[in-house]
């Protein structure tokens, strides 16, 4: 248990020591999105009755930050350790693969939530969003962060070079987040794209998260919870199996 706690502490200390880059920078990016899209689209689009576009956008941006930063934390930590070789410091001690996985994923969730909270606080200067169900907000932020943290573990272990990791991020994670309804309600889409969106697990994370704020969503939050939960179980299982076999870590 001490080993797990130490690894978790080290992973959190690692991003906290460079928090200008790992926390402040993504908060600023999201605030820029909010200012620009909010300015252009406010008053032209009303996704739900009584909800302004800027208010609608905020939970989407918060969740997008949670997801992207959770992924970035575990994946970049692992690939840096692999490339510089200091991964041996965690491979030599008696740390089980389950402890290893839990520590990296939990640190990723913490980073995601810290950045998400930063975005939400910064956005509160512009629009104060309602908070209908705090439980769902925390639930989807944690589950979504965990899925992305676990995917980050998979990507960080699989990638041997930074450009492979960047490819994973740019060609898989980015499109899936951008097309998940961060910036729009899928009800505004043509039927084909609507049904396609329902195949994207990121859509359920964001939709469920948004329900926590407004009490309205495209999908019943329990359905989203089930989809996100199953996705987490699948990614966790895959990632744990990789670690158990020592794939690309223990030759």
């Amino acid at each position: 248990m001490i080993a797990f706690r130490t690894l978790l502490y080290k992973e959190m200390l690692r991003f906290w020591k460079v928090s200008f880059q790992t926390v402040a920078a993504p908060v600023l990016t999201s605030v820029l999105y909010l200012m620009i899209f909010g300015h252009v689209l406010e008053g032209r689009v009303q996704p739900y009755p009584g909800v302004s576009y800027t208010a609608f956008l905020i939970p989407g941006l918060v969740m997008m930050s949670v997801l992207q930063n959770a992924f970035a934390n575990s994946s970049s930590s692992l690939i840096q350790s692999k490339i510089t070789g200091n991964i041996v410091f965690v491979l030599l001690p008696p740390i089980s693969y389950r402890e290893f996985f839990s520590a990296y994923v939990l640190a990723a969730v913490v980073r995601g939530i810290v950045v998400g909270l930063g975005v939400w606080l910064a956005a509160a200067f512009f629009v104060l969003t309602p908070l209908a169900h705090l439980f769902w907000v925390l639930c989807f932020a944690t589950l979504g962060g965990a899925i992305m943290g676990a995917l980050g573990v998979v990507a960080g272990i699989w990638a041997e070079k930074f450009d492979q990791l960047a490819a994973f991020q740019n060609f898989l994670i980015m499109p899936l987040t951008m097309l998940s309804g961060v910036f729009y309600s899928i009800h505004s889409l043509p039927p084909f794209w609507q049904s396609l969106s329902r195949l994207n697990p990121f859509f359920f994370m964001i939709d469920g998260f948004r329900y926590g704020f407004f009490g309205v969503s495209d999908i019943n939050p329990w359905v989203s919870f089930a989809v996100v939960g199953i996705a987490l179980i699948l990614v966790t299982g895959f990632s744990l199996e990789m670690l158990r076999r020592g794939y690309k870590l223990r030759y």
């Binding site: 080993a3 410091f89 223990r250």
Partner: protein, 303 residues
């Protein structure tokens, strides 16, 4: 001290594709030994250490540390093992003390600052304790690597070429400390390219070549095996007389080495040189050392 070997390697085979990096290694290292693992580059030393440390998995065979199988009982095996890796790796995010505390935590240990201070003092790192790893010189980073491997007071300590590219001062500091640990009952396994180091420190030596053990004996016996002394003749650019070519232990860059048991053989060799008109610029007579043993054994194996 119990009879359980500190390290037991049985039938170790490790294949990388068609290459057999370890080709059936059997080896017992007793508790409290100072053991040397020698061999040319690519002989399989690091492969063996990686398998021992759980960084790689054997294709066949087993390894146990203090009786704990490194795969099945990996937790027990790793808690009694400290490894100083060959590569100079470090974590740039932390200071020396942070790093050592974290490393202790990975082994389930908290609040061992007394031991950390002792490590820092013994490795001359006390005034660098709060310095970030990035700001340390190569030699200092190497010391931290040693401290990291010892932070959980392991029974068995493996040093994979710890003195490669390290200055004399650090080498002496390091060996003084490692010797002290050995005297306190820790088992030490050392791989090194500096043969004089192994000769001075190790009780017993295994020589590896192409993934197999070609010699395993006490340092004394290995030296005795070389027998006799070595005659070293510097002959500049002259050619070695044909009669002597077969007798020479080696001939490289104008230096010919011969092994002899009877001092009269020196006179005989010099006579051949004189008759061939070869001018001997310098002559040395050396007592047997590991380097000779090493060259001889590697060559016997090739023959």
């Amino acid at each position: 001290m119990s009879d359980i070997p500190a390290i037991r390697v049985s039938g170790a085979v490790k294949c990388f594709g068609a290459l057999r990096a370890l080709d059936g290694v059997d080896l017992d290292i007793r508790q409290g030994e100072f053991f040397g693992l020698l061999g040319p580059n690519g002989a399989g030393k690091t492969t063996l250490i990686s398998a021992l440390a759980g960084l790689s998995r054997l294709t066949e065979g087993h390894i146990a540390v203090m009786g704990h199988d490194v795969v099945r009982d990996y937790r027990q095996a790793r808690s009694v093992l400290g490894v100083v890796p060959q590569e100079l790796v470090f974590d740039p995010f932390f200071s020396v003390r942070e790093l050592l505390r974290i490393q202790a935590g990975y082994f389930g240990i908290r609040g061992n600052d007394d031991w950390i201070d002792e490590l820092l003092a013994n490795l001359d790192l006390t005034n660098k304790a709060e310095t970030n790893m990035r700001q340390l010189s190569g030699g200092m980073k190497r010391r931290v690597l040693v401290a990291q491997a010892l932070v959980h007071k392991p029974d068995v300590i493996v040093l994979d070429e710890p003195t490669a590219g390290v200055d004399v001062e650090l080498r002496q500091t390091l060996w003084r400390f490692i010797r002290k640990l050995n005297e306190n009952g820790h088992t030490i396994v050392l791989t090194t390219h500096y043969l004089e180091e192994a000769e001075e420190l190790c009780h017993r030596i295994a020589m590896l070549k192409a993934g197999q053990i070609v010699a395993l004996d006490t340092t004394q016996n290995i030296l005795a095996r070389v027998g006799g002394q070595t005659l070293k003749l510097h002959i500049g650019s002259a050619a070695l007389p044909a009669v002597l070519v077969a007798k020479a232990l080696s001939f490289d860059a104008g230096v010919a080495q011969f092994n002899f048991a009877d001092p009269l053989q020196v006179e005989e060799t010099l006579r051949v040189m004189r008759e061939a008109g070869v001018r001997v610029e310098e002559m040395e007579i050396l007592k047997p050392d590991l380097e000779q043993a090493f060259i001889q054994m590697m060559r016997q194996e090739a023959a």
